[in-house]
């Protein structure tokens, strides 16, 4: 009887195992159905401005599970911004290349745009519906030449454990921010808010001011036009945010002396935050992307790890803004070799699962509609739609951004006053 029972159990186990295996395979296969011969052998090269792109290389490995003979390589050409055109024209042109929002309207990139394939073609089968509509930029002909793979935003890294330890809540309004900063200050924290301040690029000042300026221009087309035209009269749009910034600095909530010790706007920002004594570190999403890899490189964090997240900076009474802008976009070189397989890879990559996975690895903001999968960026998923602003959609140019950045940096460092920079708008260096 026992023997019979054991045989029946074994048989059942085998059947269940086989069924589950088949089911798992079916589910796995259901995620992506290859359209080409999976034995196809070819090479695909992606070029971009990232020195390292492990997230994309992980996608290469996943794609190789389906197409094992496709050799995928990521390369960073030197002087990407200037040599992209010539690289695309070279004897070994890349299949896919990074494109950026600021390339639009810049004649330097005409060659690049000439090589871009229209990715809106339904035949290609890209899952564009999974991407936040604000981030998709169609040209006048209705072509989609660039597809975002990461988004950029501005905010602050929050040491959640520190807040919990001090019995404080992460602020969501300007008043709460001031109160929290005051509380931390009173508890002996030398600089409740910190950030990179040694140079204008990605400095804390511009990160504080820019979202408010975007919000101010979003509802004022005339001011926006003037600002884009570098009209000094448009400088007023910066006043409120510059004043807020100065209030934080002058209140001692941002100690610039401490901030100036941070020698670069990326690694050192992260490592300083990992020291564990900074409640709020002002930075861009690009900087946040380096946190994952550097956790193990920080001895302090390794000794005392803590939870952290990236949240909007509430510089107004209604909270902060989610400045949702494409960070990196992919374009397909329509004159490359193996275009079919290149499009097949894009079809594989441009899906909610793969884009989210890549964002998770890279720790950048995903361009998809689902932000909940990332504990770090999850607070941005809770920002109401009306406070999600896309500068590219609004029509903010790169030159406008540079003026705001310079103004904020100069005011923040004390190099110029608020009135001064407002009056010099359009010519700030």
């Amino acid at each position: 009887m026992k023997k019979v029972f054991c045989i029946i159990l074994s048989a059942l186990f085998a059947v269940v195992s086989v069924t589950c295996a088949c089911q798992a395979r079916a589910e796995s296969a259901g995620a992506f159905q290859p359209r080409l011969d999976t034995d196809t052998s070819c090479e695909i090269t992606v070029v971009g401005s990232y020195s390292n792109f492990e997230a994309l290389e992980a996608e290469f490995d996943s794609f190789n599970e389906i197409y094992p003979n496709v050799e995928l390589t990521y390369l960073k050409p030197d002087d990407y911004e200037n040599l992209l055109g010539i690289v695309l024209e070279s004897s070994n042109p890349p299949n896919i290349f990074f494109s950026f929002p600021w390339m639009y309207g810049n004649d330097k990139y005409l060659t690049a745009f000439a090589h871009m394939e229209d990715l809106s073609d339904p035949q290609l089968g890209l899952d564009l519906a999974c991407i936040r509509p604000n981030l998709l930029r169609y040209d006048a002909d209705g072509q989609l030449l660039t597809v975002p793979v990461f988004a950029r935003n501005y905010g602050m890294l929050v040491n959640n454990d520190l807040f919990e330890k001090e019995g404080l809540q992460v602020p969501t309004t300007w008043e709460e921010l001031l109160a929290v900063c005051e509380a931390f200050l009173s508890k002996g924290y030398a600089s409740p808010m910190m950030g990179y301040s040694a140079g204008p690029s990605s400095c804390l000042m511009s990160i504080l001011v820019y979202p408010e300026v975007v919000a101010a221009l979003a509802d004022d087309p005339e001011a926006l036009q003037a600002a884009n035209e570098m009209n000094p009269a448009a400088g007023e749009c910066m006043r409120t945010s510059l004043e807020s910034m100065m209030q934080l600095i002058e209140s001692g909530y941002i100690n610039l002396e401490k901030c100036n010790e941070i020698s670069d706007n990326y690694t050192q920002v992260i490592l300083r935050f990992f020291e564990g004594d900074v409640p709020m570190m002002i930075c861009t999403g690009d900087t946040v992307s380096g946190t994952g890899k550097r956790e193990s490189q920080s001895e302090a964090f390794s000794r005392h790890p803590f939870t952290y997240s990236f949240t909007p900076i509430p510089l107004s009474e209604d909270g902060g803004y989610f400045i949702d802008s494409p960070s990196i976009e992919f374009s397909v070189n329509k004159t490359c070799d193996n275009l079919d397989m290149t499009n097949e890879f894009m079809r594989f990559l441009i899906s909610r699962e793969e884009l989210n996975r890549m964002a998770l690895v890279k720790r950048l903001v995903t361009p998809t509609k689902d932000l909940s999968f990332s504990a770090v960026y999850e607070p941005f998923g809770r920002v109401p739609d009306e406070r999600v602003l896309c500068p590219e959609t609004i029509g903010i140019t790169d030159a406008l951004f540079v003026q705001v950045r310079n103004a904020a940096y100069q005011v923040g460092t004390g190099a110029a006053g608020i009135d001064e920079v407002i009056s010099q708008y359009g010519s700030l260096k």
């Binding site: 390292n52 290389e57 390369l75 960073k76 002087d79 193990s296």
Partner: protein
């Protein structure tokens, strides 16, 4: 206990097997590690060899650049002139050269910019390629190579071999420094740097600079820097990591790491000595280096072998244990059977012994009452006979169980056997008033070759049981058929005994062949029996390769069928034919009637059958009236109305007083002999009707010569014989001598074998007619005595017939007696008839 031992043996086996497997696994693991070390060493050595090839190649390329620089330095050339010179001397289309002002990082290319035919201007101003340029050694001192960079003229990933040169400063006069770059596309190098495919199919290598950045990057190497690649997929901690990076940049070695697919890899590194800080790196999955499966195969085979051995051992032990358990059970059963046997035997022996002793005591006390003594003696005789039967059965069953029951085939007459069977059954049939019939069907072969004694025993046992267990007034019928046998030279005898007795229950049917099994029935208890008969019978039937079948139903009766294939004796009766004779045969048994007609026909006699006496009378009358009287008339005694005697009487009275009439009966006809003769019967013939019997009787009646000789009650032929009896037991001597004296035979006694021998040695011819020799005697046993006698010089004495008369009744005893030269064997207790028969046989043989 045995189970415990088995467990220990199995555990010991498993322990031994585990020990061997552990040893093999450890040894295999050691071999694997050794093999792995060897592979790693080989891998590193291959890398070192590659480094030498790489170094040679780089030196070659650098040498070209050096030559250009040397020439340019020796001339007073401007940037343009230097470029033009190289352009003119450099024919290789894959490579190009740039001459760059160290101040402005701009200059000229030997090849025009992509998509241009005239633009030779090149700028490195936005590339961090040269740094302060201090890394470029003096001419001819070292190989100066840039990292992989993007050639600004054509966008290709390239390397550049560099030299610092001095060119004319056209603006300020004098000389100014410039960089001379000999540019080689990385794709060109990758084609040249290939690992030996037959050994390292999937391995790739990279060259890194002193910062870990790739100069040349293999496909499986990720990130822009090997150090970044390592950090991305391995987290050893900062200290270990920094130490590792330091080791990589300072020497040759290997380490393990995980690649982007999570595979455990071995990475080997060695510095390219001809460069400043470049390192040649190779990474390969450990599984590729360690792809030696032979050891696992070895372990697998050994494991399987040991497992097989264990299973076989276990099965063998299990089998042996099973057999031992069976044997133990059998031994136990045998022991129990022995105890039961002794108990049963004790009981069964004591019962008749009790009768014998008790009745003897009673007889002694009633010596004056002759009638009572006679009755006691009769009962003692019955009890004695039963005791003898019991002992014989015990001996038989003992022989059966010990496998010593041997057959002693002889030529014999089946007719005699049947006659004997009928004769033996008559007293009981008569006593119980049982309706008895015995039919034979065309017994063609009268003489057969088999163990007559055992055949008799089988037939008697079955028949006597039928009679015993049939109530008075019941019916017992026997059919003996001869059929063709499938065995060559044999006939198939089918012996079927059917009774209307008490029958047997299904439960008893299942065990009826077991010794001492008797049905538990109040009616059976009153019937004497040992419970051994059927067991012996079955064994004997099987010994004779026959079958025994039984159908029985309680209260209705039993039918036993025994089928035996018996060889036909070489010797058969001469052809018995009585031609031109017409007969009438009357019997109420249609089957017997039919078989009798057949038998008569086979003899040449035409016989008309009649089913009743009246029908016979009518047929005889008709033939008589037609003047064609039957030559002989055969009538059954027990026909219903009128019976055989009455029919004879009426034939004699009403039809013919002279026609020969034979009366047949399956019963003992001694009681009716007188009456039948008075009625007019001319002779009697017992059923079943055999050809030989019919021939003999009919021949006799018709005045022909009969071949058979009827035994006679005349013992005068024995009178005057003198027999020497070797017997040590006084009583036995007395019994036999007294018995013999009843037939006028004199006897002399020899108390043992030695005396017997002496007497024979001294005897004169004719002193003794034969010797009855006991076997077990003091001083000299019967066998030795016989041997001595057979060796006597006196030929008469040496050839005197010697009959063993012994209680050693087994067949092997008989055989032994014959072997030493005896002429026969009589078992004790002696059967007087048998003794007389033996004496007569000896006497006949003497003639």
């Amino acid at each position: 206990m045995s189970r415990l031992k088995t467990s220990w043996i199995v555990m010991a086996n498993i322990a031994l097997m585990s020990a061997i497997l552990i040893f093999v696994a450890l040894y295999s693991n050691y071999e694997k590690k050794d093999n792995y070390r060897s592979h790693v060493e080989h891998f590193v050595n291959a890398l070192i060899a590659m480094e030498q090839v790489t170094g040679n190649y780089l030196e070659g390329e650098q040498r070209i650049c050096d030559n250009w620089a040397q020439y340019i330095n020796s001339q007073d050339m401007t940037l343009e002139e230097a470029t033009a010179y190289i352009r003119a001397t450099h024919a290789n289309s894959d490579t190009s050269a740039h001459v760059i002002d160290t101040e402005t990082l701009t200059g000229y290319s030997t090849r025009p910019k992509l998509n241009s035919t005239e633009n030779y201007d090149v700028s490195y101003a936005r590339m961090e390629l040269f740094g302060d340029g201090a890394w470029i050694a003096e001419l001819g001192e070292a190989i100066n190579i840039t990292r992989t960079y993007t050639n600004p003229m054509n966008g290709e990933q390239s390397l550049a071999f560099c030299n610092r040169i001095a060119v004319q400063d056209t603006e300020n006069g004098g000389k100014k420094q410039a960089y001379l770059l000999r540019i080689v596309p990385v794709s060109n190098l990758e084609k040249k740097w290939v690992f030996p495919k037959e050994e390292y199919g999937e391995e790739e290598f990279s060259i890194i600079d002193k910062d870990g950045n790739y100069v040349i990057r293999g496909r499986s190497f990720k990130s822009n820097s090997f150090f970044e690649f390592y950090k991305s997929y391995n987290q050893p901690g900062i200290t270990v990591q920094n130490q590792l990076f330091s080791d990589i940049l300072s020497g040759t070695g290997s380490f393990t790491m995980q690649d982007s697919k999570g595979r455990e890899c071995i990475a080997a590194y060695t510095p390219i000595t001809s460069t400043k800080g470049w390192v040649l790196l190779s990474v390969a999955p450990i599984s590729n280096l360690n792809a030696v499966t032979e050891n696992w195969l070895l372990i697998g085979v050994i494991s399987f072998g040991l497992l097989l051995l264990l299973v076989m051992d276990f099965l063998y032990m299990h089998s042996v244990n099973k057999k031992l358990r069976v044997m133990a059970r059998e031994a136990e059963a045998a022991n129990r059977a022995k105890t039961d046997f002794l108990s049963t035997m004790s009981h069964d022996i004591r019962t008749p012994m009790n009768a014998i002793i008790g009745l003897t005591t009673i007889a002694e006390k009633n010596l004056g009452d002759q009638e009572a003594v006679a009755d006691n003696l009769r009962k003692i005789s019955l009890a004695g006979n039963h005791l003898l039967t019991l002992i014989n059965d015990i001996l038989d069953i003992s022989k059966v169980e010990s496998g010593k029951l041997n057959l002693s085939p002889i030529n014999f007459s089946i007719v005699e056997t049947v006659e004997n069977l009928v004769n033996l059954s008559q007293p009981m049939v008569k006593e119980k008033n049982i309706v008895f019939s015995f039919r034979t069907n065309r017994m063609e072969k009268e003489y057969l070759y088999a163990d007559q004694l055992r055949l008799n025993q089988i037939y008697i046992s079955i028949l006597s049981n039928a009679i015993k267990y049939t109530m008075p007034g019941g019916r017992v019928s026997v059919d003996l058929k001869e059929e063709k046998s499938e065995k060559e030279g044999c006939v198939k005898l089918i012996y079927r005994v059917e009774d209307t007795g008490i029958g047997m229950s299904p439960a008893f049917l299942e065990k009826m062949y077991q010794p001492f099994s008797r049905q538990t029935d109040s009616r059976v208890n009153s019937i004497q029996g040992t419970g051994l008969g059927l067991a012996i019978t079955k064994q004997m039937v099987e010994l004779m390769n026959g079958t025994i079948e039984c159908q029985s139903e309680l209260e209705k009766g039993t039918t036993f069928t025994i089928t035996l294939d018996l060889p036909v004796a070489d010797k058969q009766l001469e052809e018995m034919r009585i031609d031109n004779v017409e007969a009438l045969i009357a019997d109420d048994d249609p089957i017997l009637l039919e078989t009798a007609v057949d038998t008569l026909a086979s003899m040449g006699i035409h016989a008309d059958p009649a089913n009743t006496g009246l029908e016979a009378l009518e047929m005889i009358r008709r033939r008589h009236e037609a003047g064609k009287d039957y030559n002989v008339i055969i009538l059954d005694w027990k026909m219903p109305d009128p019976d055989g005697i009455e029919t004879i009487r009426r034939i004699r009275k009403e039809i013919d007083a002279s026609v020969p009439i034979l009366l047949t009966s399956a019963y003992d006809w001694s009681d009716i002999e007188e009456k039948a003769k008075e009625a007019g019967a001319n002779g009697f013939i017992s059923k079943p009707l055999f050809r030989s019997g019919l021939y003999e009787k009919i021949s006799m009646l018709l005045g022909m010569e009969a071949k058979a000789v009827e035994p006679t009650e005349d013992y005068s032929d024995l009178a005057g014989m003198n027999i020497l009896i070797a017997e040590d037991n006084d009583i036995n001597w007395e019994i036999i001598s007294t018995m013999l004296s009843m037939f006028g035979i004199t006897s002399e006694r020899a108390e043992n074998g030695r005396i017997c021998t002496e007497k024979m040695a001294e005897a004169k011819e004719g002193d003794y007619d034969l010797i009855f020799m006991d076997i077990q005697m003091p001083e000299m046993n019967g066998l030795d005595a016989t041997r001595h006698i057979r060796k006597l010089e006196n030929r008469w004495a040496a050839s005197i017939p010697i009959i063993a008369m012994t209680a050693d009744a087994f067949s092997e005893n008989v055989a032994e007696c014959l072997q030493v030269g005896m002429n026969g064997h009589i078992a004790k207790p002696v059967d007087l008839k048998l003794v007389i028969k033996e004496i007569r046989r000896i006497k006949e043989e003497k003639k």
